[in-house]
């Protein structure tokens, strides 16, 4: 579904990714864990073409998207829940959702919207409220809902649990599991390594711009190095 081959990404002169290869297969949940500054967000953003990889290749469903513009990548069946949620704070919940389904017909939008409200009944209650006035957890639900509006085949989530209350985190992870059942491929970046690896089919460990480890979620959870570094021993 998504393949990164020996990807190098630069911010100006600084190289943030030093030749990263990652593969996400159809229907999987793949988690990427790593410390702050390891390049997790850079990796996800490189998939979205912002910034573009300076060398190496990115393939989405077999198509080379390494040098495609962001807007066209994001219209080809992939959606992102970015770091920090980035909901449109001045727009209402409903308007935010409609932005997510911008390129779909009215009927499709209607359908996706009902589906999102089913997943997150809270959003339905807040339909006409400005997104900026909602709590962090509600904003995170909205960000996920917005990403689902385009009916993506693959969804990328960047630290969806960051800064949320434990009960909300639980709910978010349940929804992520539910997405897999709907057939959506999930590529997840998390600091919350335990949750992310328990849920994942496979996982990658990123350290200072390089993939250190790559295994099934269960094996990584059992790996002593991973336990020491990311799971608090």
């Amino acid at each position: 579904m998504l393949v990164l081959e020996n990807v190098h990404t630069h911010y100006g002169k600084i190289e943030a990714l030093h030749g990263v290869s990652v593969e996400v297969n159809q229907g999987e949940i793949v988690s990427l864990i790593g410390a702050n500054g390891a390049g997790k967000t850079t990796l996800l953003m490189t998939v979205c073409g912002s910034p573009q990889a300076s060398s190496g290749s990115v393939f989405l469903e077999g198509r080379d998207i390494t040098h495609a513009p962001t807007a066209s990548i994001m219209r080809s069946g992939i959606a992102i829940v970015p770091e920090g949620r980035r909901v449109f704070s001045g727009l209402t919940v409903e308007e935010n959702l409609h932005m997510g389904g911008f390129f779909n017909s009215k009927a499709e939008i209607r359908k996706s919207q009902d589906h999102v409200y089913e997943l997150f009944p809270r959003l339905k209650e807040r339909e006409q409220q400005r997104a900026g006035t909602m709590s962090g957890g509600e904003q995170q639900m909205l960000a996920i809902g917005r990403a689902l509006m385009s009916k993506p085949r693959m969804i990328i989530l960047d630290e969806p649990s960051l800064g949320l209350a434990p009960i909300v985190i639980q709910q978010i992870f349940e929804i992520i599991g539910q997405l897999r059942e709907e057939g959506i491929t999930v590529f997840l970046v998390e600091q919350n390594a335990h949750q992310a690896l328990s849920l994942a089919d496979r996982g990658y460990v990123l350290e200072t711009g390089r993939i250190r480890l790559h295994d099934t979620g269960a094996n990584l959870l059992a790996n002593p190095d991973v336990r020491n570094a990311y799971l608090g021993g």
Binding site: C48, S50, T70, A71, S72, I73, M74, R75, A79, I80, P82, G84, R86, F88, S89, G90, L91, E95, H98, M99, G100, F102, F103, R146, S150
Partner: protein, 307 residues
């Protein structure tokens, strides 16, 4: 009674001028809201709108078309089309290549574009001012003939109604339409809109086109109101509209409308009660005061750094 009539007269004059400032100010504020730059060539776009309208009116007169509503509507449409094309082209040529660089670079580019357009019109149309036919005559008079008489001309009413229609249409467009919603989203987080697959360049172009079209409307209206235009016609109006946009809170469309009206009324009150010479002092004094004490403007929101 007489004092009241005099005040009423100044108020009407102020609202008339102010509503056209507001029309121009919307162009500044929308562009700033989306890409954070001041389009200093916007005054010239307005001036070109006025010239296009004048050329169209003259052309129609030569063809023998004299039915007023037709003349006005054709002139308006031509001015809007030419100005919009100009606004679009200016963004493509002068701003897009330097977007994302240091803030001063697009600013210099904008000033360059403004000088270029002014001189282009100098060459093409001559530098002397040209009479603009009033077309709309007459009006209502209030008060008895032996004391002060307040007058509201049909021209003023036309200006007021036209700007009202434009602003209502714009508000509905921004709040209800799909593209309008995208404009708001892009102005809040351009990068995120891009991550939703939205071609943000097209939204930016649309902003320039809308701003330019509204400026063209103002060009036709003020051309008729003042009775003459010259290539520097856009310079002072541009500055005033910019002031109005800052006054109301740059980036805010209702702010631009409010700022324009306040500025217009402030100016006409100054002319009416003090002296016409002071009106620019008052407007730019107001700009300095607002920058000193409330830099975000009356309706502007402070930029909040989110974590």
């Amino acid at each position: 009674m007489q004092d009241l009539l005099y005040f009423f007269q100044q108020l009407v004059n102020g609202l008339t001028i102010g509503s056209t400032y507001a029309l121009i100010a919307i162009g500044y504020t929308m562009v700033y809201g989306i890409i954070g730059m001041i389009n200093f060539a916007h005054g010239e776009i307005y001036m070109i709108g006025a010239y296009t309208a004048l050329i169209t009116i003259t052309g129609l007169a030569t063809l023998g078309v004299t039915w007023l509503p037709l003349v006005l509507i054709v002139a308006l449409i031509c001015a809007m089309i030419v100005s919009s094309a100009m606004g679009w082209a200016v963004e493509r040529v002068a701003y897009r290549p330097v977007r994302g660089r240091h803030r001063l670079i697009p600013l210099i580019s904008a000033i360059g574009m403004s000088i270029f357009l002014q001189n282009y019109v100098h060459l093409a149309q001559g530098s002397r001012n040209i009479g603009f036919p009033a077309l709309i005559h007459g009006g209502f008079t209030f008060g008895s003939s032996d004391t002060f008489q307040a007058q509201i001309s049909y021209m003023q009413i036309t200006i007021f109604i036209t700007t009202l229609i434009c602003m209502t249409a714009l508000s509905v467009f921004i709040s209800r339409s799909r593209t309008g919603r995208a404009c708001r989203a892009v102005s809040q987080d351009l990068g995120m809109a891009n991550l939703l697959g939205i071609d943000t360049n097209r939204i930016i172009s649309a902003t320039f086109v809308i701003g330019a079209a509204l400026a063209a409307v103002a060009g036709l209206l003020l051309g008729m109101y003042y009775g003459s235009i010259d290539p520097l016609f856009g310079f002072i109006a541009g500055l005033k509209a910019f002031t109005a946009a800052v006054l109301g809170g740059i980036g805010s469309i209702p702010g631009a409308m409010l700022g324009g009206l306040i500025l217009g009324v402030g100016e006409s009150m100054t002319s009416g009660y003090l002296s016409g010479e002071y009106k620019d002092v008052v407007s730019f004094g107001l700009l300095i005061l607002i920058l000193l004490f409330k830099p975000t403007g009356l309706l502007g929101k402070p930029e909040v750094e989110k974590i």
